[in-house]
Symmetry: C2
Amino acid sequence: MNAALRSVALLTVLLCARHSTAADDPLPSWNDTARKKSIVAFVQKVTTEGAPGFVPVPERIATFDNDGCLWAEQPMYFQALFVLDRVKALAPQHPEWKEQEPFASLLKGDMAAVAASGEKGLVTMLAATHSGLTTDEFAKVVTDWLATARHPKTGRPYTEMTYQPMRELLAYLRANGFKTFIVSGGGVEFMRPWTERIYGIPPEQVVGSSLKMKLEMRDGIPVLMKLPEINLVDDKEGKPVGIQQSIGRRPIAAFGNSDGDLQMLQWTTISRSPQDQTPRLGLIVHHTDAEREFAYDRKSMCGKLDKALDEAPTRGWLVVDMKNDWNTVFSPPAK
Amino acid sequence: MNAALRSVALLTVLLCARHSTAADDPLPSWNDTARKKSIVAFVQKVTTEGAPGFVPVPERIATFDNDGCLWAEQPMYFQALFVLDRVKALAPQHPEWKEQEPFASLLKGDMAAVAASGEKGLVTMLAATHSGLTTDEFAKVVTDWLATARHPKTGRPYTEMTYQPMRELLAYLRANGFKTFIVSGGGVEFMRPWTERIYGIPPEQVVGSSLKMKLEMRDGIPVLMKLPEINLVDDKEGKPVGIQQSIGRRPIAAFGNSDGDLQMLQWTTISRSPQDQTPRLGLIVHHTDAEREFAYDRKSMCGKLDKALDEAPTRGWLVVDMKNDWNTVFSPPAK
Ligand SMILES: [Ca+2]
Ligand SMILES: [Ca+2]
């Protein structure tokens, strides 16, 4: 072999080796910072048989917040944008909305007045658009909306506003025997139609806020009607309740981005007794990248991160700095 | 080979073949009747790729009632027996119960008066024994009770009063890609401490009746207090609600034994449209064996089977005749 050929061969070997390393990295969109190292160390600890931190597969429960943790939530929660679109779509069937707030302001395009109606206004519109139809009808409305609606800033479908590093994390945990759940303040029926396709999380592993339902027979066919009455607000103190109701065991890892996740992070990571030595992981996605995404925390209307950010150091929660910890933000569009 | 040797060899082959057939039978406790054939035919239909009835793995959801379907429920629901035992155990801490019904009658041993207090009396005792403690405390109480309590007729631990044919059915369905859930009128927190060990059904696949809960901090440790307020009665019309809340998709197979399962069976098996050709299985365990178990249906206090029995033929639900369809009733004790 002459020198040139040897160089080519060596280069090939090196390139292949490098390629192989990249392919072996389960979290390629994460920069090689302390956060990534801590995540990998946690997973290795709980999966190393015979080691003191070993956790049997059935107990490897991981819970993920959705808005601002798995997909974006600015300029406002995507479900709120869905509500606004639905009010406009349903307006012809509701002539009375022309006289009722906040519907009237929204239909006139007065967004300042809509915003001023606050959470109460949103709940009014939410009840009007999320109830009075069956669960199957609602799922179809959500699916149809997602197929055509576009994000006001990026122009992308909302299901293409998911975070690639978090999707890698979901897959990495599942490859290590974890069962991954969504535990979101968002509506459970708003998420289930698409979480399996986008995140690989099946409907039975989605926990969220919900309305009460009533079984009815319609021409001999059973349907579940969505009622304008809240069943569970799966946010803040409601998250551990939702976890207990639907999962029935304590997660060993929880992922969030706002004060709405504070109690879930506490529930997951606070040791119950000095004897409890199970490794536990709490992680907060901190939105620090105004250029590639949005930068916000303590003062944000959506995804306010204040108390949980203050508590993170003493609890040992990882705070992900999106700008520096992630080399990619959004997942590429599905083919 | 002489004739004797040939006979031995032939016998060996026959015995091995027979042994192999028995070992291959996933439902050995089921007699070879029409019910067993229908179950096997259903499973083959939904698992045969390319065939018209094929159902992808994620949609193979099967829901099982518990009382009277997976374990016994006579002389009364085991959770009711648990309630009676708990009232007696807690009586020293509740001197006021000596003056309050139905506690007073129970503590005096007047079971006729307790029975006369009916469902209202039971709910009063249920609230008193199932709330005012944390979810972890309650799980421990259940586990401790099951370790020592014995069934009044058989003297066996309650977890040894499970039906072997149904446990084989659970395993058979899981081996064929099904996800098996419990959907019971019983308390979800009463079942979760033992369903994984006994049935192989993890806590997150148990749906049941529940009380509301409240998150509290106790000396810096988060706990969920059980409140004396009903969250969901997962029975009758409540079963499809529980299924939708916790599973979020429609089962393709449902198993029950009483009118409490009527709506779950309807929800699971009634075709939503002429285009819907998915095979669906509804099954009712009919308690017909007074000798090996109990015989009851239309007039029973616990597990009343009346309307669902009448509806079974027109809906095509299988009605299992315990006496003739099962060659074994109870599972052998766990080693
Ligand atoms: Ca969030
Ligand atoms: Ca039953």
